[in-house]
């Protein structure tokens, strides 16, 4: 017995010691990564952490690096591709060794950016040239830059929708659901595919935010009140998802869906519609080519809501690239970020929006331009507060769980009514909002 108490005592002491040790990573001073003046004088080997394992494996990233070396001959770029990017980087960031350039993981609190990343300049200066700067701005300084942007929207099979007799984009949720019903009755396709099992595709429904109200301050409104109040963007989106599922317009067994398999299915017309982002268009076109169908059948339409007779779509950044504050080669790292954003052609290669202001829309979004869809850049000043409320309340608007529950509710695998469900979310949200004091 005596021996046991001693062991417990030393365990506790070890626990206290361990607690004292954590939290030493990351400096509090903050640093700047200045843009190099003379490309020939920048030297060093930099490591770029990336989530694009596919591009590293097929050598595309190497090609970018070779191109980069034409301007910066003395910088050597190495890539470190991580399959589970978020999970691995999060752990590595407890040390100082997390590459020279990396994508800012979602888990890092905005207020902690200065501890982990070197600043790329002030917002006033950067916002003149680039989009999405305020997503990484802390105290007027910008800490990251997304190399591409995307628009949320419905990927759909044009041929199937045409067979169902619909050629114009629906303008209200009711019209959209009527469209799905027409697809169901007139074709063999599954009208809407949830990708329930893979979860993250359901998370995309949060990007309805801003598309309904057409308000650039839609994110700030999330931090100011109940996102599921009558008429709010998220309520409109979630109600539509509920109605789609309720109406039996989805796949027969959502619990065993398969993302990879869903791509050729949509390309072949077995699936009519999915709510994703414009970044997915290239993947679906590739799937169509592989399946031997026409890649031009893959269409992209905005959320069925209009303000003043026009659709709205929000532009959102991908992962933001940043410079490690502990890097020994900050100039070289900065050079890579600037070059990759401005000159690499990465955004165009992926048929996505360029983060450089005034750059032309990619050709796949031509229909958007023709239809006069209004592109809005969401104001992200309250983005950190929204994330804070989201985690505090455990609602998870950027997590798949509540949408899975919503789908379960709609198909009867969970008891309750939609109003109670959304009301409960709103109540939790409000409670967390009040306790976090924003």
């Amino acid at each position: 017995m005596n021996r046991r108490t001693k062991l417990a005592g030393s365990l506790f002491a070890a626990a206290l010691l361990a607690a004292g040790c954590t939290g030493s990573g990351g400096t509090s001073k903050g640093a700047d990564a200045k843009a190099p003046v003379d490309p020939d004088k920048v030297t060093g080997t930099i490591t770029v952490l990336t989530h694009r394992t596919d591009l590293v494996q097929d050598g595309t990233m190497k090609k970018y690096a070779a191109e980069f070396n034409k301007t910066y001959p003395k910088v050597e770029v190495e890539f470190d591709a991580l399959t589970d990017y978020e999970g691995e980087v999060k752990i590595r960031m407890n040390t100082e060794n997390y590459g020279d350039v990396l994508m800012i993981p979602a888990v890092i609190k905005k207020s902690d950016y200065p501890r982990f990343f070197a600043s790329l300049g002030t917002e006033t200066e950067r916002a003149k040239k680039y989009l999405f700067t305020d997503f990484t701005t802390v105290d007027g300084k910008v800490y990251g830059q997304s190399p591409m942007g995307a628009l949320p929207g419905f990927l759909y099979n044009k041929r199937v929708w045409k067979e169902a007799g619909i050629t114009d984009w629906p303008t209200t949720p009711a019209q959209f659901i009527d469209g799905l019903k027409a697809v169901k009755s007139r074709t063999d396709a599954i009208p809407y595919y949830t990708n329930f099992k893979d979860m993250w595709p359901l998370t995309n429904w949060t990007y309805v935010d801003g598309a309904v109200s057409c308000d650039p301050r839609a994110t700030s409104r999330l931090a100011a009140g109940d996102p599921w109040a009558e008429g709010e963007d998220l309520r409109v989106g979630d109600t539509m998802l509920y109605d789609i599922v309720r109406g039996g317009l989805i796949e027969k067994d959502p619990t065993t869906t398969n993302w990879e398999a869903s791509k050729p299915k949509l390309a072949k017309g077995d699936i009519a519609t999915m709510w994703l982002g414009s970044w997915a268009i290239t993947q679906f076109r590739a799937a169509a080519k592989q399946a031997g169908t026409n890649p031009d059948d893959i269409g992209f339409m905005p959320f069925p809501a209009q303000k003043d007779g026009k659709h709205c779509a929000t532009m959102s950044p991908d992962y933001n690239q940043a410079v490690n504050v502990n890097s020994d080669h900050k100039e070289a790292a900065r050079a890579w970020i600037d070059w990759f954003t401005d000159k690499s052609g990465y955004a165009a290669d992926n048929l996505t929006l360029s983060p450089v202001k005034g750059a032309p829309l990619p050709e796949v979004l031509q229909p958007y331009e023709d239809a006069g869809v209004k592109l809005i850049e969401l104001d992200d000043a309250k983005g950190a507060a929204v994330k804070e409320i989201d985690n505090q309340s455990e609602v998870g608007i950027y997590k798949p769980d509540y949408r899975q529950d919503l789908v379960d509710l709609a198909r009867g695998a969970r008891k309750g009514s939609l109003d109670d469900f959304l009301g409960d979310l709103g109540r939790r949200w409000e409670e967390a909002r009040k306790s976090s004091g924003s």
Binding site: A15, A18, A19, V107, D253, P254, T255, N391, D408
Partner: protein, 316 residues
Amino acid sequence: MTDTTEKAARPEEAAPAARTARARVPRRLRLRRGLTPWLFLAAPLVLLITFTYAPVANMVAYSFTDWDGVSPELSYTGADNYVELFTRPELFEVFFVSGYYLAASVIQIVVALYFATVLSFNVRFRNFFKGILFFPYLINGVAIGFVFLYFFQDGGTLDSVLSLFGVHSDRAWLGTPVSANVSLAGVSVWRYMGLNFVLFLGAVQSIPGELYEAAELDGANRWHQFRYIIAPGIRPVLSLTVILSISGSLSAFEVPFIMTGGATGTETFVIQTVKLAFQFNKTGLASAAAVVLLLIILAVTWVQRRLVPDDKVDLV
């Protein structure tokens, strides 16, 4: 551990010749002799401490903080996390899901016991069957999750096998909470039955063969042999298995996490803890939840040991 080594050392000490020999050994050599066992123990002890006790101690420490899992800033919050845990009863509702796994483990033990008994007698292809039964336990849990996703898919393996027998089921096996939990518990029976089976088989085979012969002479049939020889003979292993099953059911994780991610009412306590830690970045609260789970399992084990004391088995 120490008890057995002491016992083994005792007869040697008792012998007077050995004692004098020992006294004559120079001090340095004696020291070295004293160190030798620790030298052998060093590697496993270092591994055990770095990979088991240090993380546990760390986890306990985190459970008293508001750490988010990555921020260098963390503050000591005292017992706040524990207070929050116990004032939110919905966090413990997920233990109902463990009921499915508990029920499944009863089936699992019975089936394993049956096979262990049958295969400890002379049966044709005995080793082949042993291999088949143990095999699932060797497969990686992630692989099992994926395999069974295809198995339960609409028109998947299960549906096609059923249709061979003329049963045309038209159901989503993972579609409703009850059927999803039953399916998942079924997968975990399939997976862990082999382990129970091997444990039982070892215990059954350690029962001396003469006992069966004697029993047969007395006119005992197979059921009598099982009831009066095998069952009491393997009691310690049986109670160990029950403990493992209960703690396993309370902490079920891999299979439901990979197959459903906790959707449709299949969320277990561990999945919930993982989500708290890695989705909502409440590492402190999640650590507290993990500590509570550990305490619950220890308590259950303790109660069970009290109810069913581990008696010495004496068959003869």
